[in-house]
């Protein structure tokens, strides 16, 4: 059952609140990237991925690979929201042997497909999954969320070549292009623009959207694959730390360690967004 755009936006707001719940528990984390990617991750899990929390390793399931593993809190929040774990697990964030560590571990949490964190690994792994599907004549798709800051890693472009050469149109990449990384603007640190043209040159079909606009995400998902026989890359322009005005669009949000007052203010802000969307969703 597909959710409406408003329902998805509400779910994303609730998931943002869960990110802050993890920060309440652990004190700090990669908040900026988790919040910029949150709308994409939410839409994928709630409306697109063929997955079942009761059977998380079903052979025919769609795969979600978080190449930018530091955005893990986005995935954890949505996994909790969709029933892969009780939300209480999020309260272990930052503690010894937590199933929700700083970067995802497939052996600790159902629903995690790869141990990412070292950047530039996800796409090649995703291509392997897609080739496995083809060998078994399965039709599952493999969705990858990357960060624009990880694109200078050359291994990404090995993956880009593989997906195109092997015509893996079951592979869909979302680049969470928030334009920032830990030291500043991606275009000042290593300018990889124009991203769309780079993927196109490798043989991908490309589209660009506002990755924090749920209606644009929903619209592009309805058109997958963007071109039969080609992998799809969606350059999703986003705002780092989307949802917390005081740190939105700042490199400092990449790894955020708020004071108690800052965290309280952020929670109030996100809860107000949830309340507003709840009203809208029930209209």
């Amino acid at each position: 059952m597909s959710l409406t755009t408003t329902e998805l936006a509400l779910a994303a707001a609730r998931a943002r609140r869960l990110v802050l719940r993890m920060i309440e528990a652990g004190g700090s984390g990669h908040v900026g990237g988790a919040l910029s990617a949150m709308d994409i991750v939410t839409a994928l899990y709630l409306n697109e991925l063929d997955i079942d929390p009761k059977d998380p390793s079903a052979p025919g399931r769609d795969r979600f690979v978080l190449s930018a593993g530091h955005k893990a809190m986005a995935q954890y929040a949505v996994l909790a929201h969709t029933g892969f774990m009780p939300p209480e697990v999020l309260d272990t964030y930052g503690s010894f042997r937590s199933p929700v560590p700083g970067h995802p571990d497939m052996h600790k949490l159902p629903g995690i497909e790869a141990n990412t964190g070292a950047l530039g690994h996800g796409l090649a792994i995703a291509c392997g999954m897609a080739l496995g599907a083809r060998l078994d004549q399965r039709s599952f798709r493999v969705f990858v969320v990357m960060g624009d800051g990880e694109l200078p890693e050359g291994s990404n472009w090995e993956g880009a070549a593989i997906a195109a050469h092997h015509r893996l149109d079951s592979v869909v990449v979302f680049v969470d292009a928030n334009g920032l990384q830990i030291s500043g603007r991606t275009r000042d640190i290593m300018d990889m623009a124009p991203l769309g043209q780079k993927f196109r040159a490798f043989g991908w079909e490309v589209d660009e959207i506002d990755g924090n606009d749920m209606s644009q995400i929903v619209e592009v998902l309805a058109r997958l694959p963007l071109s039969a026989g080609k992998p799809s890359a969606i350059i999703a322009h986003t705002v780092k730390a989307r949802g917390i005005a005081s740190i939105e669009g700042t490199p400092g949000s990449h790894y955020w360690k708020p004071t108690p007052a800052e965290l309280d203010a952020a929670i109030r802000e996100i809860e107000a967004q949830v309340a507003e969307l709840q009203v809208e969703a029930t209209r």
């Binding site: 790869a114 090649a124 291509c127 392997g128 999954m129 090995e158 993956g159 092997h166």
Partner: protein, 322 residues
């Protein structure tokens, strides 16, 4: 032992093709490396299970991990440094940390690609691979063990690194008795323990037999597995001889010699002499010439073992970390 010689790479490729006939989960991955890995026949017989990627060992290692998550058993063979050094992080994270059932075969190991120079030599692969938790490291010693190791690694669930050389090898051991983690007690003696691994074992046996004929009593252990080490076999022998010499075509640090020294240093401090390739960039040249210059051919090994035993008897030889 038969007098016939077998090409290492073709032996590997043929063995994998036999296994692929029996297990359709086996998939061969090539980084423009399949033909030189003896996989022509595999490709002809299983075209859909032979995947080509061109020269990108990081990408292929990632793909192997992804394929393994779908239940395939990917086997990726290429020149040893490029499947251990170039892709080390993919090996460590995508295969080791993810516990994936992937088999990586480094061919032309050691300095068997002698004349191509240090970029193509692999004298640290045992060390690198045995540093990754959960990775099994195999070094078959003859043609029979290449066949046996291929079968054994495919029966084991988990990441495996196997090093083979390139040249012709005799058959010393049967095809069907290779057990991962179990060494062979090839000669029994009490003066000194000699431990070898990989294709170097062929020359080691020749050297040891000459020394035995001269009256030395040598306990010879031949290991087709570097990790996990056959601790019981090594400790039992060291207890009897109190002098251990390791021989390998690898740097003296971190490989077989390193592993044996770690084991004995912890539980049975005896003299461990590591006969290996000096810790330097090896010059290029004909393989036989390199072996000779480093004393790793049968003649050189015979002289080296004799010298080390004499030294040990006189003073208790100090370790040599060259």
């Amino acid at each position: 032992m038969t007098e016939d010689m077998y090409d290492s790479r073709k032996t590997f490729g043929a063995a994998l093709t036999v296994e692929a006939e029996l297990d359709e989960r086996i998939v061969a991955l090539s980084a423009d490396s399949g033909r030189s890995s003896g996989l022509e026949d595999f490709r002809a017989r299983f075209p859909t299970r032979y995947l080509e990627f061109g020269i990108m060992e990081q990408g292929v290692t990632g793909v192997a991990s992804g394929l393994a998550t779908t239940g395939k058993i990917p086997v990726f063979c290429a020149i040893a440094p490029f499947v251990t050094c170039r892709n080390f992080e993919q090996f460590r994270n995508d295969l080791g940390y993810m516990h994936q059932n992937v088999k990586i075969v480094g061919r032309n190991g050691g300095f068997t690609y002698s004349d191509l120079g240090s970029t193509h030599h692999s004298l640290e692969d045992y060390a690198l691979m045995r540093m990754i938790p959960g990775v099994t490291v195999l070094a078959p010693q003859d043609a029979g063990e290449i066949r046996g190791a291929v079968h054994a690694m495919l029966q084991l669930t988990g990441p495996v690194y196997m090093r083979i050389g390139s040249g012709p090898l005799p058959q010393l051991f049967p095809d069907d008795d290779f057990v991962i983690g179990q060494g062979r007690h090839v000669r029994e003696g009490s003066d000194v323990t000699v431990i070898s691994t990989g294709y170097t074992t062929v020359a080691v046996i020749e050297a040891v037999d000459t020394l035995i004929s001269e009256g030395l009593s040598i306990d010879l252990l031949c290991l087709g597995t570097v990790e996990p080490l056959d601790q019981e076999l090594i400790l039992g022998s060291a207890r009897r001889t109190a002098h251990v010499i390791t021989v390998e075509e690898h740097y003296p640090r971190g490989g077989l010699g390193g592993a044996v020294a770690e084991l004995l240093g912890g539980s049975m401090p005896v003299t461990v002499d590591r006969v290996a390739v000096p810790h330097e960039y090896v010059p290029s040249g004909p393989y036989a010439g390199l072996l000779k210059s480093y004393g790793l051919d049968a003649v050189g090994l015979e002289a080296k073992v004799r010298e080390l035993v004499t030294q040990h008897r006189q003073v208790g030889a100090p370790n040599q970390d060259r």
